[in-house]
Amino acid sequence: MSERYDVAVIGAGIMGASAALFLARGGMKVLLLDRGPLCREASGVNAGTLTLHMTRAALIPYAQAGWRMWTSAAQWLGSGVDAVATAGLSLAFTDAEVEMLEARAAVRRRHGADIRIVDPRRAVELEPGLNPQLLKAAWCETDGYASAYLTGRAFRGALVQAAVTIAEGQRVAGVESGDGGFTIRAPSGGTWSASRVVLAGGVWLGEMLAWLGVSIAVKCLINQLIVTERMRPVMRTVLSVASGLLSLKQFGNGTVLIGGGWQGLGDTERGGVETVPDNLIGNLRLARWTVPALSEARITRIWLGLEAETADALPLLGPVPGVRDAWVIGSAHSGYTSGPYLGQLLAEHMLGREPSLPLFDPARLVGVPLPH
């Protein structure tokens, strides 16, 4: 632990792993720490939806860049996450949903997403598996899906090759800034030292920022996900609904993944620990309503993954307010799509390069309470 690193990245999800990778490729000596294994929290257990339909409007250019990275992972990451590019449809089944669908599509279009509203006939042409009772659909060709569980495997190879020191299963109890650097303390009393620090802890960012005396609230959502047994092809696009409360895709192996952010129970300490049967049934009814052939599916696994959300549901991405050489990245709602790009973008800033897009200054959220 006596070695000194140019930068210590704490949190080895996509954001942290990607920042670590691009910092190392930029010439820095990087330590990547996580209390668990690489990419095994939100980054490894999310629904793998590579969509703009559920991306916060202001994040769309970032998600588009992330989408390009995921779908070309072989080129920059070495091995990929089985990303498949396909069209995405967001659906409306009631008049109120049509209104929401059109309004949301218009806002996302203004932020650069090529989303078109289509009628049921066109929607069913694009996705023959759809329930024809839909009233309208929003169609976007920049969509797709990945197998999120492969994220850790994909990043590990690239990180090792870039000579990043990966320290898994290492809890961090605190970070102190001193003259010209940081001391990172393990609960055992051991320390690491680094000239710069990047906090990349997702739902744990609130606690981590407090180490440096910064108060930013981060909400922890407990998202429920459901996967079926392999079944005959029943769909070929990525489906969602106007409210964002469904994500649906069928992988090449025939399994169908059902998500949408219906809530289970848990917390940042224990993780997602309890499925709420009524939320499960609601989520499944919405899925079966959307693709009726799913009635013949059998569910093999239901799990819970944590998702972070800030007060404005946009990421923390930039310098830690008031602490020199400390940076923060993460808590991007629906951040899987944009994740690799946000890591690359932070690295560009830290390496003093011309950044391709602006950051999301964390200072905006200091002391801002979470809504309700």
């Binding site: 294994p37 079926t228 309890e274 049967p277 609601g282 919405l286 009635s295 696994r301 709602h333």
Partner: protein, 478 residues
């Protein structure tokens, strides 16, 4: 959304000897009890009932009588029984969701007793997924319940008392047993005799089975194991080799046998799905079958009011299970204030003594069935370990070599354990393979328990509804 769950003082999952006696004892003390089982009748794997539609032309066996006695007790107890119901969800507090022929039901209870028994373990060998290769448990089911021979000629292989039981059942049913292949040596059996003498009745039954096999001139190859099975025309050709005391095959001792069925089982692993889902504390106990919930003699787990009993709490056998059921019922009622401490103490004495004695016998048998590391070490690299997802030993080990440190990470990198069985078949062997490289079973861990407890049809869970019935939450932020 779903109808209010029906409330019971005690809910028992599993209708084997442990579950039956838990329900009976809880009823005896006036509690309202529901017992669920996915099978059409009570009895469990050991006392599996013959279908009601069968007409019998043979004498009733002692084992059937034992099963009938338990079924009679349960029926007369007044417990609400739900057979043919698959429990797919348990949530803390407790709520139990199940699906039967008439659709979904939900129960609520302050005391949950889990008596879900075990699953069979097979240590993979080349050809173990060939049609015609079945588990000893499957052979038992065919023999006991369906009165069917698994094949015209059968090789019975693996470890533990099921070997002799299955082989004797085949002989009794008029089938031919080509050979019994036992990984344990005669000395290992003999070493257990003192403990077995705790239950002379069961020793006598074992002796009768062995006598039947001798009379039928069935070769008993002890300290042998299957090393491969391949299809040869209509038949299966099995390669069998001698093994050393640890279970490692000895090269140059191979011979081949031919049969049309191979029944193989390498012991049983406790079915700890429910206690994993409910996040009870677990420990690894090789001699008791694997990872199991930490329990006291009454079946109390680290989760208040959750009890795990019978073989699911560590292999101890059917005789012990009955007494374990009684103990758990007493604890459940005492812990929820329904049974005074004095009554609890008084009533616990007899079942505790019986349980201790029976568990000594069962424990000795379980030791014979424990997973042998050398047998796992001998699995060839290209052999499939996870049969749902076709993941080989080499792929599992490659994941560890590339940096996966425990079984859940190995699962994410290989899909091993992601199929319909969710690792119930392969989990113990996968963990053993990972453990060899990461420094032990505790480090290798176990697959995180998640719902559903059984694959469940989406149609059955969602039922009939219209769009307006779906309580869609507040929209995600824009």
């Amino acid at each position: 959304m779903t109808a209010n769950p029906s409330a019971f003082d005690v809910v028992v999952i599993g209708g084997g000897p442990a579950g039956i006696m838990a329900a009976v004892a809880a009823r005896r003390h006036g509690a309202s009890v529901a017992l669920l089982d996915e099978n059409p009748a009570a009895g469990g794997q050991v006392y599996r009932a013959t279908p009601a539609t069968f007409t019998r032309h043979e004498a009733v066996t002692a084992e059937e009588l034992a099963g009938n006695r338990l079924r009679g007790l349960l029926e007369r107890s007044g417990a609400a029984t739900m057979f043919g119901y698959k429990v797919w969800s348990v949530s803390p507090g407790f709520r139990v969701d199940a699906i039967g022929a008439d659709g979904p039901i939900a129960l609520s209870t302050p005391a949950l007793i889990v008596a879900t028994g075990t699953s069979e373990r097979v240590v993979p060998f080349p050809g173990w997924t060939t049609p015609g290769v079945i588990g000893l448990a499957a052979a038992t089911l065919m023999l006991k319940s369906q009165r069917m021979l698994p094949g015209r000629s059968t090789i019975v292989a693996g470890s533990g008392p099921l070997l002799v039981a299955v082989a004797a059942g085949i002989v009794k049913g008029g089938g031919r047993v080509v050979a019994v292949i036992d990984v344990a040596g005669r000395k290992e059996w003999l070493a257990r005799v003192p403990a077995m003498l705790a239950r002379p009745d069961l020793v006598a039954r074992g002796a009768r089975w062995l006598a039947a096999l001798r009379a039928a001139r069935v070769p008993l190859l002890s300290r042998h194991a299957l090393s491969a099975v391949r299809e040869q025309g209509d038949a299966l050709e099995a390669t069998v080799a001698r093994v050393d005391a640890e279970g490692a095959p000895i090269r140059g001792t191979e011979r081949t046998l031919t049969a049309d069925c191979v029944a193989v089982g390498n012991g049983l692993t406790p079915g700890s799905d429910v206690s994993r889902v409910l996040r009870a504390r677990h420990r690894y106990a090789r001699a008791k079958g694997g990872w199991l919930a930490v329990t006291d003699p009454w079946g109390r787990t680290s989760v208040p009011h959750l009890y795990v009993i019978g073989d699911g709490s560590g292999i101890a056998g059917a005789a012990a299970a009955e007494h374990h059921g009684e103990l758990a019922a007493l604890a459940a009622l005492n812990d929820s204030g329904r049974l005074p401490a004095a009554t609890f103490d008084r009533e616990s004495g007899t079942p505790r003594r019986h349980w201790d004695k029976a568990a000594r016998f069962g424990g000795a048998m379980a030791g014979l069935m424990a997973l042998r590391p050398a047998q796992v070490a001998a699995i060839p690299e290209e052999t499939i370990v996870c049969r749902c997802e076709d993941v080989t030993r080499a792929e599992i080990e490659a994941a560890v070599d590339r940096g996966a440190r425990e079984v859940n990470q190995v699962k994410a990198w290989t899909r091993c354990g992601m199929g319909p069985c969710q690792g119930r078949t392969c989990g113990d062997v996968v963990a053993e393979l990972v453990a060899r490289r990461v420094g032990g079973r505790e480090a290798a861990g176990y697959f995180t328990g998640r719902l559903p407890l059984r694959p469940v049809s989406l149609e059955a869970v969602t039922g009939d509804y219209v769009y307006a019935d779906i309580p869609v939450p507040k929209a995600a932020p824009l």
